[in-house]
């Protein structure tokens, strides 16, 4: 048995798993690549042929503002994605409540904040 990761041309791990030795090459589909190794899509990526840890996300929450947001980034608010091209993002909520905000910017690790309005 071999552990494998399937990744795209940016190094983003699409999936990982294990398979018999002779089925390793079969796991790569069109446009994707497979390599033997142990890695998770939420913690690693492939850089220069090696599986390495994804870097820490620089985003910070200050009040109702996200700062040092990697550019570009996808900001999901309660699962709804919004694309961002700014390092500083102002948050504005119509209705009071608790909101889960996730900043995703590959290869950075996703970072999640909770805002209560």
């Amino acid at each position: 048995m071999k552990n494998f990761v399937v990744y795209d041309n940016t190094g983003c791990i699409q999936r990982y798993g294990s398979c018999p030795d002779d089925m390793l090459a079969l796991q790569a589909s069109d446009g994707l690549m497979v390599m033997e190794g142990i890695g998770r899509d939420d913690a690693h990526y492939v850089l220069n042929g090696a599986i390495v840890a994804r870097p820490q996300n620089t985003a910070q929450l200050a009040g109702m503002q996200l700062m040092i947001v990697p550019v570009p980034a996808t900001i999901r608010i309660n699962g709804i994605p919004y694309q961002s091209t700014d390092a500083t993002v102002d948050l504005d909520f119509t209705y009071p409540g608790s909101y889960t905000i996730t900043v995703a910017a590959f290869p950075y690790l996703d970072k999640t904040f909770t805002v209560t309005v």
């Binding site: 999936r15 294990s18 796991q27 899509d41």
Partner: protein
């Protein structure tokens, strides 16, 4: 030295260590060939011819062109080189194409001087004897003779591998003798003494009597039947010692202190001690025979005993056997027994009721364990005890109580009632064990076990209305056995429909509308796709009833288990 063609090519000639020693000693002192004084005419002619041939080849007479060339000559003239244990050497810098090799190691121990040397004269010969050489690498004894007791005048008479030598002098003769031993390395020891040992033949009574009675100048001319000579005399230049000369004597009972007999025909002789250069007998019956060397074309012994023996080829009869004292038969008595047992060739070493190794004609049995530091090959094998080997190959079955193989183990089948340890092993047949404890991995041919194959992705993937999107996939090469499929997904945003597709065949799908938002959805099913490569796709499509911009699916998992057993 005549010219010799230096361009002699040939196959190297193997010499022994004696020859190298001979080379180092220099030219041998070969005896000259004397002129035979009298004898049969044909014999004289033959001897003279031999003498001429030898002297011509030695270069002592005739043309130098007819002289033979020895290897010593070639070496001395730089036309040959010798190889000794891989090293070559020659007499000069010019080395010819001829080479020789000397094998074996040289023992340069000097033999001891001979002891007990004596010379006893008969009528026509002088018998030389000496004590047993008694040293390990004895080759032969070399005998020298001179007319005076001066070693410088002595010439080599010949050699003997026994403890005596007969010098056939053919008449009245007086000589002085020496002897020395020569080892197998051609190392000669010292002479037995500085002064020679006197050897004299006795007077031939018949010849003396003929002189006394047949010569007119003799005072006893015509006198018979015996003559008493009070003092020595000389007749026609021949010395005749004093004594009693009898023509024909018929003795009923005689006692002789010292007898020299030229020819004797004896009906029955009892001899306390007999020394002979040669004994020709039809049958020799003795309680004990002691000899330096016994050479025989064939030998038959009812019982042959020896403290130690060094034998070349030993052949026993087709129905015979070899055994140690205690092993009285193939299956009886502790010891070694080998030979014919009731028409079958067998051997047994050890205790027939205990530890042993034996072959009964069809089966090799080892009781007490076996250790093979090298390879062990057998069609089948049964070991009641332990079996240890570096490697082992069994074309048939292998059975043992326990087994330890430091290297690889190969067998068609194997049965171990106890433990089996090996660095690695190959069984082309059946391996039966009460339990198999794998430290690392058990690799079974054809992967004939349940094969798990999985893929997982934690991050969300997006799915939209109108068409399915693959959110996870895994490819398997199936042998045709059923595949158990376990899949799960977490719908974190926007309702979605889920389906499982194998290649292009939909195996499973949920029904629209799909109410289980924000839930981990899992399902399992079985599929038999047939042998070959197949890809399973986990796909999602945003529900038509969803008001979100998209559906998000995370923690996407597919696990395949091809169940062969």
């Amino acid at each position: 030295m005549s010219n010799v063609d230096p361009n002699i090519a040939g196959t190297p000639i193997q010499l022994n260590s004696n020859d190298l020693s001979a080379l180092m000693r220099g030219d041998p002192k070969l005896p000259s060939i004397g002129n035979p004084a009298s004898g049969d005419a044909a014999m004289l002619q033959a001897v003279n011819a031999i003498k001429e041939i030898v002297e011509t080849r030695e270069g002592r007479r005739g043309s130098a062109l007819d002289q033979t060339v020895t290897w010593r000559d070639l070496f001395a003239n730089g036309l040959a080189q010798f190889n000794v244990n891989g090293e070559s050497f020659s007499a000069s810098s010019s080395v010819g194409a001829v080479s020789m090799a000397v094998d074996g190691a040289l023992d340069v121990t000097v033999p001891p001087a001979a002891t007990g040397f004596s010379a006893t004269g008969a009528l026509a010969s002088i018998v030389l004897t000496w004590d047993d050489p008694g040293y390990g690498n004895h080759a032969y004894a070399e005998v020298f003779r001179a007319a005076t007791s001066s070693l410088t005048d002595a010439v080599s008479l010949g050699t003997s591998r026994s403890r005596f030598y007969v010098d056939s002098v053919n008449g009245v003769a007086t000589y002085y003798y020496w002897v020395r031993f020569v080892s197998t390395s051609d190392i000669a020891g010292p002479y037995n003494a500085t002064l020679g040992t006197l050897g004299q033949t006795g007077t031939d009574p018949a010849k003396a009597l003929a002189l006394l009675t047949g010569e007119e100048s003799s005072p006893y001319f015509g006198a018979f039947p015996f003559i008493v000579l009070n003092s020595a005399t000389t007749i026609n230049g021949v010395a005749v010692p004093a004594g009693v000369y009898v023509g024909d004597a018929f003795i009923s009972n005689g006692t002789i202190t010292n007898a020299k007999i030229g020819n004797a025909a004896i009906d029955d002789a009892k001899i306390a001690n007999l020394s002979a250069a040669k004994i020709t007998a039809g049958d020799i019956d003795a309680d004990r025979m002691s000899a330096n060397i016994v050479a025989a074309t064939t030998g038959k012994f009812s019982t042959l005993s020896a403290l130690t023996s060094s034998l070349g080829t030993v052949t026993i009869g087709s129905t015979g056997f070899l055994r140690t004292t205690g092993a009285t038969a193939y299956a009886t008595g502790v010891g070694i027994w080998m030979g014919d047992d009731a028409g079958t060739y067998k051997f047994r070493i050890g205790d027939p009721a205990g530890n042993r190794i034996q072959w009964n004609g069809t089966t090799l049995t080892v009781v007490g364990g076996g250790t093979f530091s090298g390879a062990l090959s057998a069609a089948t094998g049964t070991f009641a005890g332990s079996l240890s080997a570096a490697t082992g190959t069994f074309a048939g079955s292998l059975s043992a109580a326990t087994g330890t193989f430091a290297g690889s183990l190969s067998a068609a089948t194997g049965t171990f009632s106890g433990s089996l340890s090996a660095a690695n092993g190959t069984f082309s047949g059946t391996l039966t064990a009460s339990a198999v404890n794998a430290v690392d991995t058990i690799n079974i041919a054809g992967q004939a076990v349940t094969i798990p194959l999985s893929a997982y992705t934690d991050a969300d993937a997006a799915a939209f209305k109108g068409s399915y999107t693959t959110v996870q996939q895994v490819t398997i090469t199936s042998t045709g056995a059923p595949i158990a499929i376990i899949s799960s997904v977490y719908n974190s945003f926007g309702s979605a429909l889920i389906r499982l597709v194998r290649d292009s065949t939909v195996l499973f799908q949920t029904i629209d509308p799909y109410p289980n938002l924000w839930a981990q959805f899992a399902f399992s099913l079985s599929d038999t796709p047939g042998a070959g490569s197949h890809t399973y796709y986990l796909q999602a499509m945003q529900s038509s009833s969803s008001s979100a911009s998209q559906a998000s699916l995370g923690k996407r998992s597919i696990v395949l288990l091809e169940t062969k057993r």
